[in-house]
Symmetry: C2
Amino acid sequence: MHTPKDLQKAGLKITLPRLKVLNLFEHSENHHLSAEDVYKELLASGEDVSLATVYRVLTQFELSGILQRHNFEGGKSVFELNFGEHHDHIVCLQCGHLEEFYDPAIEARQKKIAAEHGFAIHDHSLYIYGDCTKDKCPNRRTE
Amino acid sequence: MHTPKDLQKAGLKITLPRLKVLNLFEHSENHHLSAEDVYKELLASGEDVSLATVYRVLTQFELSGILQRHNFEGGKSVFELNFGEHHDHIVCLQCGHLEEFYDPAIEARQKKIAAEHGFAIHDHSLYIYGDCTKDKCPNRRTE
DNA sequence: TGTGTTATTGCAAATGATTCTCAATAAGTT
DNA sequence: AACTTATTGAGAATCATTTGCAATAACACA
C-alpha cells in the first residue's frame, strides 16, 4: 500500500494532483496506465489535472520509487505501482492483455550472464509477446 | 551476408537509397544503428538520402526480415542486420556499450512460461542494463 | 535502346508522445 | 496571516517518426 506519507518521504509536497494520481493507481482496475490513461481517467471522474502535470508527477513518482515505468512496444510509457518485488511481463499482441510473472531461473541466469560479460547489473526488462486465449481477445487463438 | 538479391526476394526494387542503407549496415563498425545514425553516416560519406526515406527503408527492411528492430530505453528504435539467429542484449548505462548473448536456458524457460499462461509466444525482448568494465567507459566500474 | 507504368523518393507539413517556459497559484513555514 | 518556494496549468517547443504529394527513378516491354 502507498500513502500520502510516501510522497513526503520522497521529498515531494503533498499536493492535490499528486494525491489524485496516487489514488488512481491505488484504486484503478487497470494496474498498468500510460500518461494519457491517467489523464483521461482523472478527467472522467471529474478531477481535472493538466496533462503536463500528469507527466511531471509520473516521472517524479518513478524517480522516488513509487511507480515503475515500462517501455512496451508502441512508443508510450506505461506505469504501475512499485511494490519492490520485481516481475516481468507477458503481453498479448492481439488484445493488449497483460500478465505478470517471476521466474527465479531466468533471474539467476541473467546474473550469471552479466557477470560473464563483466557487467554490474542494474536491472533488466523482459517482455514476452504472443497471442492469448482470452475470450474477449479479438483474434482469439483457438488453442 | 546480405546482398541486393535480398531486396528482390522481399519484393523491393533495387534502388540507390536501399543499396546505400544495406551497404552501410554491412560495413559499418557499429552494428546497431538508429534512423538518425544511418542518416548521418550516409551524409558523412557523401551519399545523401532523405531522412524520410531512411525511415521508410528501415521499416521495409524490418518487415522483410533483413533488419531487426530494437526498442531500447530512450525512445528511439535501433536496427541491426538479421541473421536469423536470435539473441538478446546487455547494455552499459554509462557508455552505451552493447553486447549480445544467447542463453538456451532462458529461452526454454520463456517457452514454458508462455505455455503456462496460455499464450502462443511470438517473440520476446530481453535487455539487461548495467555498468560495464570497458576502459573508455566514462564512469568505469572499477571491478 | 527508348518509353510507359508504377513504385520510390524528397520535401515539407502533420502527428503523437513528452518536455519545457513562464506567469499564476498553492504548500508548508514562521 | 504573511512569506518563500515548490508546483501547477496552458500552450509553445521538441523529438522521433509518419504522411501527402508532386517529381523522379526502376523495371518491363515494345
